[in-house]
Structure formats: structure tokens, C-alpha cells
Amino acid sequence: MSVERETAALVGASAGAGAIVTFVGIARASSKSGEQVDRLVLEDHPSLTRQSLDEIAAAAVARFDVSAIRIAHRTGTIPAGEPIVFAGAAAPHRREAFEAVDYLMDRLKTEAVFWKREEGPGGSRWIEPTDADHAAKERW
């Protein structure tokens, strides 16, 4: 995944938009408990992962006044400090663009079909959405 390429693709699909908002999620170098994390390992499903991303994108298009939505997500081994996910929206006005991207990320964090592990000197640990992630999704 290239953030520059995804941004360019979103801009290219955004004729007439007055606002483009993008978000990039980065693999953190420490876990929530403060342990060192060297990499994330993201597992996906051959069909359900794409379906989940498409469904979330379609829901954002239906809910917000946007002219384009773009989601890109890496899988496999991702070293700490590198981008994991790109989410972007183009809209006539900035408010809808910001809200659409906020919505995309709140749903991606709890519903996207991935299984994530943090790996570091302390070993490997599976990650599940936090209470904060679920609460964020409930805002919508």
C-alpha cells in the first residue's frame, strides 16, 4: 500500500469535491500495556475481508454526502512505524468528508474481517477491539 498512490487515486475520483479528508493508521511500537511491539501480523479471509471493507465503504456512501470513498488495508507482516490502513473521503464540504472518514475508521476498527497479532520481545498476542472501539462505533 502506498499512501501517496491512494491519495492520488482519491483525488482523481473526486471531481467537483470541495474537500478531501484522509486518515492513515500506523502500526504502533508499543502495546496498550506498554510492551514493545516490533510488528503486527494481519490475517485476512479470502472473501469475507473484501466483503467487509466494501460493505463499510458502501454504508458511508449511503450515509454521507460524499462523492468518493477509498479504503486500502495491508495484510501480512507490518513492522512498527509503518502504515496499516488508508481511509479517505471526498465531499462537497469538509464536514461531511471528516465525518465520513471518522465513520469509516470506527467501523473498520470493530467490523473489518482481520485477525491481528502483536509480536515483540515479550512474545505474540492476539488483539481484539477495545471497549473504546465498540463505544466509538455506537456513536453512529
Binding site: E43, H45, H73, E111, V113, W126
Partner: protein, 78 residues
């Protein structure tokens, strides 16, 4: 029948596991057989969704010869 696991379920059962069960059978029956193999692991339907031929299904779904059956741990999200 070969069953595939995703997420933390693969740690317990391996990526693929062979279950000695006659087909056709329900997803629920297969779940029970697998649970008996690893009673220490939680295969409850609320924690392990089932997928037949790429589609999420309930436990009353019937699995036939040639179908793919997968169990999915709760997703981590993106």
C-alpha cells in the same frame, strides 16, 4: 472432512484440522466434534462464527461433500 480455522482458533486446532464425521452433517454437529477434541478451547457459536463456501452460516446449515467449512475467531478489526 477438512475444517479451516482463522485467528486464535488456529493456535488451538492448527490452520486445518481433519474431523472424522459422516457427510452430510450440520455445522453444529461438526462444532461439537471439534469441541470434544479440545474441550479446553471455546468453540461456542457466539465466539466462533462458521463459514461454508465463503458464506457465514448458522449451526443448522448442512455441510455436504466438497463444501468448505471454516471457523472464524472474533475479528480484531482493522
Amino acid at each position: 472432512m477438512r475444517v479451516r480455522f482463522y485467528g486464535r482458533l488456529a493456535d488451538a486446532f492448527g490452520r486445518d484440522c481433519h474431523v472424522g464425521i459422516d457427510l452430510p452433517c450440520t455445522v453444529g454437529a461438526t462444532r461439537e466434534q471439534l469441541q470434544a477434541l479440545r474441550p479446553d478451547k471455546d468453540l461456542d457459536y457466539r465466539r466462533a462464527k462458521a463459514c461454508v463456501n465463503g458464506v457465514l452460516v448458522e449451526d443448522d446449515c448442512v455441510v455436504h461433500e466438497g463444501d468448505s467449512l471454516e471457523f472464524l475467531a472474533p475479528v480484531s478489526g482493522g
